[in-house]
């Protein structure tokens, strides 16, 4: 019987995987991330975002090439690098990290909603609708999420472009000066800490080169497209922010996209963008967070902590529910965000690089053998 949780049954076409990872990355639009970048770089935020995108692109291009040229996915690399006990510890760490990530994704949106609309509700009472839907979607597995996201990802692109078009009349190019913002040190060096927003790229290494219906394409080509689309849209968004709102105000705000959406409207009586923003980003964050939880579960299955991850969907959702039941004041929430930023850089950049270095030291010359032996079917591996 075909099991939903078997990694060989995960199927997607190129369009779907690009949509999925673009959607995951697009969650930062509503988060605190744009404000962090603008706080660091000032009026040079566009240079800042282009710079960290470029740096991330170069690093991840190398990581992805190293992983997919030699092995099926990240887990195969981990398996051949670390002893079993460390593998299990790593997988649990990754699982907890992804749980935290999806908690932050949802709570970010909920804090936004509570600050604006549901001011009388508690965080838990809004989150319960999310969590139930999260559970139901996660039960269906990866394939359903890939199908859905193929349809919805285009909404973000439309929304951001729409936001840009509507703000065209309010754009003031003088806001982009001084051209180097807070100085080259802040824009190029300190700004590197903001590359934590690329956490989803770590999940990209979980999915091997298996593509449905024979439409196979090298993974790094998908990766190029993901980075290109994301960088263009994020730059467009930051451009719209800075061109319409003075920089000094941005740094004091918390719900930036909400502010921008409420600022940009055709006239007081007509169309308002806030409700649309809430619909679009609720859907996107809902899909992204369920994908993250599934990835965390998939990871503990692949590294042999559990045999079938689908049984652990409910416990994960229950852990999330408990997290939402704990009332967290905003000051502590900001500390959690800071800790998360440091953790993300570790997981996104530090961990794969370290693993790959140990892998190459351990299996010196292995990749050559792998390439030469053309008769062996690719990527056959027993999951024990």
């Amino acid at each position: 019987m075909r099991k939903n949780s078997d990694y060989k049954n995960i199927s997607y076409v190129n369009y779907e995987i690009i949509s999925m990872f673009f959607t995951l990355l697009a969650c930062v639009f509503i988060s605190y991330s744009p404000i962090r970048i603008i706080e660091r770089c000032g009026s040079a935020s566009i240079i800042g975002i282009l710079f960290i995108s470029l740096v991330t692109y170069i690093i991840y291009y190398i990581i992805i090439k190293c992983i997919f040229k030699n092995e099926y996915d990240m887990f195969s690399v981990i398996k051949k690098t670390y002893p079993p006990i460390i593998q299990k510890i790593i997988s649990v760490c990754i699982y907890l990290f992804l749980l935290l990530y999806s908690y932050l994704l949802i709570s970010n949106l909920l804090y936004n909603l509570r600050a604006s609309i549901y001011s009388k509700s508690t965080l838990f009472s809004i989150s319960i609708f999310f969590l139930v839907a999260l559970y139901l979607l996660n039960k269906k597995g990866f394939n359903v999420i890939f199908r859905i996201v193929g349809y919805v990802s285009i909404i973000i692109v439309i929304y951001i472009v729409f936001l840009f078009i509507m703000s065209v009349t309010k754009i003031d190019l003088n806001n982009f000066f001084p051209i180097l913002g807070n100085g080259p040190k802040d824009v190029f060096l300190n700004n590197l800490s903001n590359s934590a927003l690329f956490v989803p790229l770590f999940l990209f290494t979980f999915f091997g080169g298996k593509v449905a219906k024979g439409k196979k394409r090298a993974n790094y080509k998908n990766f190029n497209l993901i980075m290109l689309i994301f960088t263009i849209l994020y730059t467009l968004l930051i451009f719209t922010f800075i061109a319409t709102v003075p920089i000094e105000i941005i740094s004091s705000r918390y719900t930036l996209l909400l502010d921008l959406s409420s600022l940009i409207s055709l006239n007081p009586q007509s169309f308002k963008l806030v409700p649309i923003m809430i619909y679009v980003f609720s859907l996107i964050i809902f899909i992204s967070s369920s994908f993250c939880i599934l990835c965390g579960l998939y990871n503990i299955q692949r590294l042999n902590v559990v045999k079938d991850y689908s049984k652990y969907v409910l416990p994960s959702v229950i852990i999330m529910t408990i997290l939402f039941l704990i009332p967290i004041p905003l000051s502590i929430y900001n500390i959690i965000l800071d800790v998360f930023y440091i953790l993300s850089i570790g997981f996104t950049f530090g961990f794969p690089i370290l693993t790959l270095i140990i892998y190459f030291i351990k299996n010196k010359g292995r990749s050559k053998k792998f390439m030469q032996d053309k008769n062996t079917p690719k990527f056959i591996e027993e999951v024990d």
Partner: protein, 458 residues
């Protein structure tokens, strides 16, 4: 195939089934009481909010609301004619709204509020704490206009409400038109205003509104006494405006065409219709406090420099006219700005130098000359030169007021100066804000005279 895709191998655990049922029950319990039906007769929309200083307790506010209470009529249509005005003494706007809710006995909705009117006295003490609350709270309409009232905001709202010719729903939207067609006001919504208020280098500004009580009867009395000073009577309430007072009345009257027409017709019969409201001019803020005001005429120059003046009709007084030997003569002109003003700020020297070029299109509507003088090219050139001179002088006076009297960089020249610096630190070291009052400003009008009909030959 599709079913096989997500079938689980193991038998279902009863623990999970029970948990699922519990979750479903919890969701149903949460959903109880989510029905949301609205009775139209219970609705109440706040349309205008007025803030005054309280007369009883100095730290308190006198908050005035104009409510619109929609009523369901027999033909299933909803009428919004009924308005209600209440004034409450409270220490904040939220407290006032809370107290009002108690005896209005319906939920007040602020999401459609049109305008926030703050009295002059209150604005002089600082407005930041009222504005930051409203602009960051989505309960209020973040696009509502903000206006400073000469006199009490309560009186203004009551006068506006009494005037049956003005629809309270649309009155403030007319202001946007007045910016476009008269240049006497620059409308600002509360989000833009709070943005300017919290920006270090920027200065906020709002339109000014006031009540002209018994304007026409006063006019008549004064006309009897002094024939020459008829123009200045319109500006009885304003403090400043030495040379430009005559122009402001013409431009600001246009924005209030609705009530003006009625009052002129029936001024002797009905005492109420003499009460006249007016919006025109600009209030200037520095460090969240009201420090002064610009006249309607000066506001046109402000619009000229920051955005685009679409249409502005004014009377320009010539000091001496050679052609007719009249002591005081004037020309009525219609000014249109053809493109945005090009502004360059040079920060090389110790004092900044600002070069401004304003392209204008001017139509001379009429001059005091006789019919035959229009064919005299010398006379026409004279008129053109006079107009140029007067515009230059007015602009000079405008900058004198901003630089020397108030030291306010209202036209946001600091933005243009940032182009000369690489980093924020360099820019902060230069301290443009301090140096603005010594800046040398050169304004060049690029005037293109257009003929209106046969008035001026080509």
């Amino acid at each position: 195939m599709s079913k096989n895709n997500y079938v689980l191998e193991n038998k279902k655990n009863p623990f999970f089934t029970i948990l699922k049922i519990i979750v479903v029950i919890i969701v149903f319990i949460i959903m109880i009481g989510l029905e949301n039906s609205v009775n139209v007769n219970n609705l109440c929309f706040a349309n205008i909010i007025g803030l005054d200083k309280s007369e009883n307790i100095p730290s308190n506010l006198l908050v005035t609301f104009q409510f619109i209470t929609p009523k369901l009529e027999s033909s299933n249509s909803v009428s919004t004619d009924e308005t209600l005005i209440t004034s409450i003494d409270a220490n904040s706007l939220d407290m006032a709204a809370h107290t009002t809710q108690d005896y209005i006995s319906s939920n007040i909705d602020f999401s459609n509020a049109d305008a926030l009117i703050i009295s002059e006295d209150l604005a002089k003490d600082g407005v930041q704490r009222y504005i930051s609350n409203i602009s960051s709270n989505l309960r209020y309409n973040t696009n509502m206009y903000i206006i400073i009232c000469e006199g009490k905001a309560q009186d203004f709202i009551e006068t506006l409400d009494k005037n049956k010719d003005i629809s309270p729903l649309t009155y403030f939207n007319i202001l946007e038109n007045s910016e476009e067609y008269t240049g006497s006001t620059k409308v600002v919504n509360i989000t833009e205003f709070s943005d300017l208020l919290f920006t270090t280098y920027a200065y906020a500004s709002t339109p000014i509104c006031k009540i002209n009580t018994n304007e026409d009867s006063k006019k008549e009395d004064k006309e009897d006494k002094k024939e020459s000073s008829s123009q200045s009577s319109n500006k009885s309430n304003s403090e400043s405006s030495s040379n430009n007072s005559s122009d402001s009345s013409t431009s600001s009257e246009k924005s209030e065409t609705i009530d003006n027409t009625n009052s002129k017709n029936t001024n002797t019969i009905n005492q109420k219709s003499n009460i006249n409201i007016e919006v025109g001019g600009t209030a200037l803020f520095k460090d969240e406090k009201l420090i002064g005001s610009l006249t309607s005429d000066e506001t046109a120059f402000h619009i000229m420099l920051t955005s685009r003046l679409k249409s502005y009709t004014t009377t320009l007084d010539f000091e001496k006219d050679d052609a007719n030997n009249n002591q005081n003569s004037s020309a009525n002109v219609s000014i249109t700005q053809t493109a945005k003003a090009s502004i360059k700020v040079d920060t090389k020297g110790s004092k900044p130098r600002i070069d401004i070029k304003v392209p204008l299109n001017i139509i001379v509507l009429d001059t005091p000359a006789g019919e035959y003088d229009y064919l005299d090219s010398n006379y026409i050139n004279n008129v053109k030169n006079n107009i140029k001179e007067i515009l230059d002088k007015k602009m000079e006076a405008y900058f004198y007021k901003l630089q020397k009297e108030y030291n306010v960089d209202l036209d946001e020249f600091y933005k243009y100066s940032r182009k000369n610096f690489l980093t924020v630190n360099e820019y902060n070291e230069y301290n443009f804000k301090e140096k603005f009052k010594d800046a040398k400003i050169n304004v060049k009008f690029d005037i293109n005279f257009n003929d209106s009909g046969l008035n001026i030959e080509k």
